[in-house]
């Protein structure tokens, strides 16, 4: 027999209590993503409404907090995509901080390494943990740099932008080394 909740009439005190325990986590996250309390309030409401709707799918084989994280993450990414699709003004700053060499752009790393696994291994080898996280969130999930700074609680003056610039420089250098080794073996 499944350990799903059986539905029926009754009060929502249990649900209210359950959600109350997790307000701080969800709200703090929503605030860091939205950057504004009104927007964060709407976002947090959306998280709890979705959690309520999907309560029947929660099977109890994972931590409630992890389950709520999964919903919060999904709602926050959808919010970010709907708010500013692919237009991060800080990307201009990043571009200005790097040499304008199309052959050194990070996507060349992925183009030249035909296997995604090989490109990922390169990324894993060359970048620091924080650089990897900034790179993955910004390019993999379209999270704006300002939001990444807030989510990862980066306290350096230019936040995630500095890590992105650093990561791209490292990948460009790795690309140059790779090209040099190709020439040697040719």
């Amino acid at each position: 027999m499944s350990n799903h909740l059986a539905a029926g009439g009754g009060a929502s005190i249990w649900l209210q209590e359950l959600f109350r325990r997790h307000y701080t986590k969800v709200v703090t996250w929503c605030l860091r993503v939205a950057g504004d309390r009104e927007e964060a309030y709407d976002l947090a409401q959306g998280v709890f409404v979705k959690a309520q709707r999907h309560l029947g799918a929660f099977r109890g084989d994972s931590n409630v907090s992890t389950w709520l994280y999964s919903i919060t993450r999904s709602e926050c990414l959808n919010y970010l995509r709907s708010r500013s699709p692919l237009n991060d003004p800080l990307d201009d700053d990043v571009a200005e901080a790097l040499p304008d060499d199309p052959e050194s752009r990070p996507e060349r790393v992925f183009e030249l390494h035909s296997s995604v696994q090989a490109a990922r291994a390169l990324l894993d080898r060359e970048l620091t943990d924080t650089e990897k996280r900034v790179f993955t969130l910004h390019y993999g999930d379209d999270v704006p740099l300002q939001t990444i700074t807030s989510l990862l609680r980066l306290e350096n003056p230019s936040g995630a932008k500095a890590y992105l610039v650093s990561a791209r420089r490292k990948l460009a250098r790795a690309l140059q080394r790779w090209r040099a080794s190709e020439k040697l073996t040719a």
Partner: protein, 250 residues
């Protein structure tokens, strides 16, 4: 310039998207709190150690688990939490000390009016779930007392799914399951592995055709989940299938 940036975005997103081997947030949670069983835990730990995406997810998950507002965030977090309480109080059928404390609900957009507060578990089912969750959370939640007016408790039951499941040669045309005694209708949902909903529908039959737009999103190698919930004539959920996983072979 804009075209080059768009191309860059597209390539990098492709390279940094989750692979089939990447863990879902729930699996990462199991790894983090030690509840994921061996040998899956060892296999996942090995993958995470070399995967920037999974490491990022794990970092965010751990940060979420311990999230506390910074001093400059505390005021806004308190403001939002108080308003969420008001919405809950407004949506709840029972008397609430929170309502008295915070006054009438705010005129802000009322997403919480969408809450179906009458659709939750009655006391007996609540007790079972609360004990399970309470053990995981470290302390038991406060429980509602059973109401003499509460309707008969309907215990949950499992639905046997027929297809799709596992590795397939082509995108499925439909979802099928065994009819459930007492079911008047079924809610079905197709999800990404992180449980993000792709499509949902209602039907009175024990099968439902998948629309072309959804089938087009079922690409080789990409795992998806689906589940079905049986409902009685009053719309109450009476049985669940649990999540079924499938994908098309590469």
């Amino acid at each position: 310039m804009a075209e080059a940036r768009s191309r860059e975005r597209s390539l990098l997103r492709k390279a940094l998207s989750p692979s089939y081997a990447c863990a879902s947030p729930l699996e990462l949670g199991g790894l983090a709190d030690g509840s994921l069983a061996q040998p899956a835990a060892a296999r996942l730990r090995d993958h995470v150690s070399g995967c920037a995406r999974c490491q990022t997810e794990l970092t965010l998950l751990k940060d979420f688990e311990s999230a506390a507002p910074r001093p400059d965030e505390e005021r806004a977090v308190r403001w939002i939490s108080a308003r969420l309480e008001r919405r809950f109080s407004e949506a709840s059928a029972g008397p609430s000390p929170w309502r008295a404390r915070h006054g009438p609900a705010l005129p802000r957009r009322s997403v919480f009016t969408a809450l179906n507060v009458g659709g939750f578990a009655v006391a007996a089912a609540t007790l079972a779930a609360a004990v399970t969750i309470g053990l995981r959370e470290g302390r038991p939640p406060e429980l509602a007392q059973p109401s003499p007016a509460a309707p008969t408790v309907l215990r949950s039951a499992g639905i046997t799914t027929l297809s799709p499941a596992g590795d397939l040669d082509a995108a499925p045309n439909e979802l099928r399951w065994e009819p459930q005694t007492g079911a008047a209708s079924y809610s079905v949902q197709v999800m990404e592995v992180d449980h993000a909903e792709l499509w949902s529908a209602e039907t009175r039959d024990a099968s439902i055709a998948l629309p072309p737009a959804l089938r087009a999103r079922i690409v080789p190698g990409k795992p998806l989940l689906w589940e079905v919930v049986a409902k009685d004539a009053a719309g109450r959920a009476v049985a669940w299938s649990g999540k079924q996983r499938f994908r098309i072979r590469r």
